[in-house]
Amino acid sequence: MTADAFLFWFLAALTIISALSVILMTNPIYSALSLAMTMVSVAAIFVTLQAYFLAGVQIIVYAGAVMVLFVMVLMLFDLKHELQAFTRGRFSGAFKIASIGSLAGLLVGAMYSARINSALTESSIAANATSKGAITPLAEELFLRNVFGFEALGVLLLVIAVGTVALSRSKGGTHARH
């Protein structure tokens, strides 16, 4: 077994286990911390795919910012334990699980029928990524060919910033009386 294969299986197992604990933990704070763990291991998987900069962005944006926000909000709420963590109804639950299972089977089956048989090799991006211009292709793609999307996202972020401030305008803490 090569080191790369071992690394992949290790990271895949880590990702799946932490992702499962996101949806199985009844305490939402544990869910959020598991999700942070998932994000970090997905970043590590990005590294094995030679997307170094994206791995860094994944850690900064998801693990370092979005999940910190989730954890902070959950601590603000301070939900001690959840009485109804999962949906009610034995029948509907079984039905949901069955439908998820069949969908998963369908997806995995589809992927195997349309398999890409090339082994994972050093791609042409990787050849660039190891040399001096670590992210030249990414930057050129982003700023020369997708510049409209880039500017649009800037405006979107502005709109969101204005919107969230407006949403949380009302005075008082999380437990304010009305």
């Binding site: 790369d4 690394l7 911390l33 860094g56 900064i60 370092g64 910012a65 910190v68 902070m72």
Partner: protein, 379 residues
């Protein structure tokens, strides 16, 4: 394991190296604590710890014994798992982020080349920023796991402070990245070799009087970066998380003994990252001013006469040079702590959002505009 080496020997050495860097970090903490206590005593015209051993140096051992004999305590109200996990997690981001910073020229032996750093990462800056931003979880876990109001309030304050200053930190680095055009620390250091020289309006400006350090290109960026790192590592004047008049001790109110010590190691680890980054970005990293790497190599060749000995000499000399710069910044951290008073929380947030962030933006824009103008207009 892609670039941890090709042969078994290389991989083993590289893995042991990471452990060594970590142990070095852990070992530096008692020394820094001693320096801080003696330094603060010096600044405040006191004696400081001077009874145990020469210059009070054995105070460190006495402290370790004290930590070891403290009984292990966890509050009943808190969450035991989080309470114990938080100090362990406090070590990880600080240590891993520090390992990405190069400390000397790579050591060339007969068959292999070893980098004097934990591991080389080609997107170094992004890696360090990302990993050290994970420190916010430690604080939130400690605050929530203690089950105390003071801890929770302290954790909220500390994490809000850390994330606010991360913006100013991230933005002040953009100017640096613009100047060097890379994320890689080693390339940055190599670009800072030699005398000050740059191209402007089609001419090359050079002077041998100054080294080619980043501080001469990014003075504003340096000030902003250094100030933001103080807030990131929760040091005075920004240690609002543990403002003892209001919050007892912030997120580690309930901690004692070894668990407390581990938070300390984390905090000092962030100081070390900040000092290492300051040296790397703005002060030439391990480079020696006015002397190139090749000069040192030639000097070693004349001195020892063998290639390998010269390589070792080269590495050791640059390692010492890095540590002088590194120690200087650590001392500045301690010095500032005992010189400036603490901010108020609203002043802290105002400084981060309304002063440092706009200045960092201005710095970025001016840098980009100057680079644009000096490249496109010729005289």
């Amino acid at each position: 394991m892609t670039s941890m080496g090709t042969t078994g020997f290389e991989i083993t050495v590289n893995l042991i190296k990471t452990v060594l860097v970590f142990l070095m970090m852990v070992q530096a903490v008692p020394i820094l604590v001693w320096l801080e206590r003696r330094g603060s005593a010096f600044i405040q015209n006191r004696f400081g710890p001077n009874r145990v051993g020469p210059l009070g140096l054995l105070q460190l051992l006495a402290d370790a014994v004290k930590f070891l004999t403290k009984e292990d305590f966890a509050p009943e109200k808190g969450n035991r798992f989080m309470f114990y996990a938080a100090p362990v997690f406090a070590l990880i981001p600080a240590a891993i982020a520090y390992m990405a910073i190069p400390m000397s020229v790579p050591l060339k032996l007969e068959t292999a080349t070893f980098l004097i750093q934990g591991f080389e990462i080609n997107v170094g800056i992004v890696f360090v920023l990302g990993i050290s931003s994970l420190a916010a979880y430690t604080i939130l876990m400690a605050g929530w796991g203690s089950g105390s109001k003071f801890s929770l309030m302290g954790a909220m304050r500390a994490s809000a402070q850390i994330i606010s200053y991360e913006l100013a930190l991230g933005l002040s680095i953009v100017g640096v990245i613009l100047m060097y055009g890379t994320f890689n620390f080693n390339e940055m250091i190599l670009q800072q070799q030699g005398p000050l020289s740059f191209n402007a309006f089609g001419y090359t400006v050079a002077t041998a009087a100054l080294p080619n350090w980043g501080i001469f290109y990014q003075p504003v960026g340096m000030i902003l970066f250094f100030a933001a790192t103080f807030a990131e590592s929760n040091r005075l004047p920004f240690d609002l998380a543990e403002g003892e008049a209001e919050l007892v001790a912030g997120f580690h109110t309930e901690y004692g003994g070894f668990k407390m010590l581990m938070f300390f190691i984390g905090e000092y680890g962030h100081m070390m990252i900040a000092s290492g980054l300051m040296a790397t970005f703005f002060f030439g990293g391990y480079g020696i001013p006015y002397v190139s790497i090749q000069d040192v190599q030639n000097f070693g060749m004349n001195l020892f006469g063998s290639e390998i000995a010269a390589n070792v000499f080269n590495t050791v000399v640059h390692f010492l040079c890095y540590n002088i710069k590194f120690g200087l910044f650590l001392w500045i951290f301690i010095w500032v702590r005992w010189t400036l008073p603490r901010f108020r929380y609203d002043q802290l947030m105002d400084l981060g959002w309304k002063t440092m962030l706009p200045w960092a933006l201005v710095n970025t824009m001016v840098t980009a505009a100057v680079m644009f103008v000096t490249t496109y207009f010729m005289f």
